[in-house]
Symmetry: C2
DNA sequence: GTCTATATCAGGATAGAC
DNA sequence: GTCTATCCTGATATAGAC
């Protein structure tokens, strides 16, 4: 994954072969730290010093590996975006609508729980107009949703589920699932809990799954 | 509304009576400008210079009226929060569940369209852990949702709607409606439109309303 | 009550020693 | 390839003239 990035201006260390493992390890360390810090402070709120401290590396190393704060931010986003779109694979014409949508929703709920920081970085980017990801949204994401919406429209035409606006269905599923990562504080405040454990997570998954499936005319109890 | 705030350190102008209208007008101007700038840049991304320019006032005036950037931010949030909770008034025990939820959803969708900036400021605050609003969420918001969830539980117990988790229902409604303000770029990118006009708005409202109502066993076509 | 000019500081970036 | 010390921009905040 780090393979695809344009090499920094620094020359490679010794022989003709690829990156040193120390470089790989440090880049990984920095990206993970950056994700955490960007998640809790946003792009402008995050400081290179804070990321360095979180990664337990000197500040100058971040610039050595990534050049600038913006470059580091781009990398964090790029690393995330791929994983973000994967769960749509469940949605294929020959699949059972109920099973496919249930699997999609569950996968998104699991990502909200397990990769909450990545979700928040992404949310922050969208909230501020997607200055970095905008083009990707208008091309790749749009094309992907176009394809998947057609699948759903096919299911509807075949009478396999209720009539819903397929694209807006995606907006609602994204919103309903990611809210548990992005607006986690609000959820915890309302539920009166201090941390979201496995029990709270499966209750949330069940609630969202039931509501959306029934909304699509695919009630689980049928 | 500005009445309730602690007075700045500045002495009041002349006689013993309240604020001059010039003060009121300027405060209003600054708050409106601040909402726009905080919405598009977040708290740390926003600069006092930018807000001043947007308000067409000299930078120092902002500090004269609001003391600090943080105080100004607090005011913008406070001004918003009240309006934010109002639509829940539709949800009362004696109301018709379908009509009440439809009205609530429509009101929230309208707020996403008409007060998108306020929604984004709010989203940004939540996304970063609600440092300012945290206490309010854990007290007022929690109590409000507790009361409204009881109303919904009552409807369910009376067999007037399907079994849903009432608190998670609120999370989903908030998420699904506010996503049209907060993640507007994503919606426009996927739909392939450059601006969200009245037509797109009513299509979105209808889609969300239909999906959620049917999810609550309150299909509109019944 | 209003605004210009400025103090002060934080944070991104880099030069250059090791 | 790594890190210390430093530069310098840009942003908050204020002093003090009007």
């Amino acid at each position: 994954m780090t393979e695809g990035r344009a090499a920094p201006t620094a020359p490679s260390s010794g022989g003709g072969f690829g990156k040193t493992s120390i470089r790989q390890a440090n880049e990984e360390l920095i990206l993970a730290a950056a994700e955490r810090v960007f998640a809790r402070a946003g792009y402008s709120g995050a400081t290179m010093a804070e990321i360095a401290q979180e990664a337990a590396l000197p500040k100058a190393n971040l610039h050595y590996y990534f050049g600038s704060k913006l470059e580091l931010y781009r990398e964090v986003l790029a690393r995330t975006l791929k994983d973000w779109l994967v769960p749509t694979d469940f949605i294929r014409p020959e699949a059972d609508p109920r099973a496919a949508l249930a699997a999609y929703i569950d996968a998104k709920m699991r990502m909200s729980a397990e990769r909450a920081d990545a979700s928040r970085v992404f949310a922050n980017e969208l909230l501020h107009g997607a200055p970095v990801l905008g083009d990707l949204l208008r091309t790749e994401l749009r094309a992907l949703v176009e394809r998947k919406a057609e699948v759903i429209d096919g299911w509807i035409a075949a009478g396999r589920m209720a009539r819903v606006d397929s694209k807006h269905l995606f907006f609602t599923i994204w919103a309903a699932t990611q809210t548990y990562a992005d607006f986690d504080v609000q959820v915890r405040a309302v539920l009166g809990i201090t941390a979201t454990g496995p029990a709270a997570q499966s209750r949330a998954s069940a609630a969202v799954r039931t509501l959306i499936l029934r909304g699509c005319g695919l009630a689980e109890s049928e």
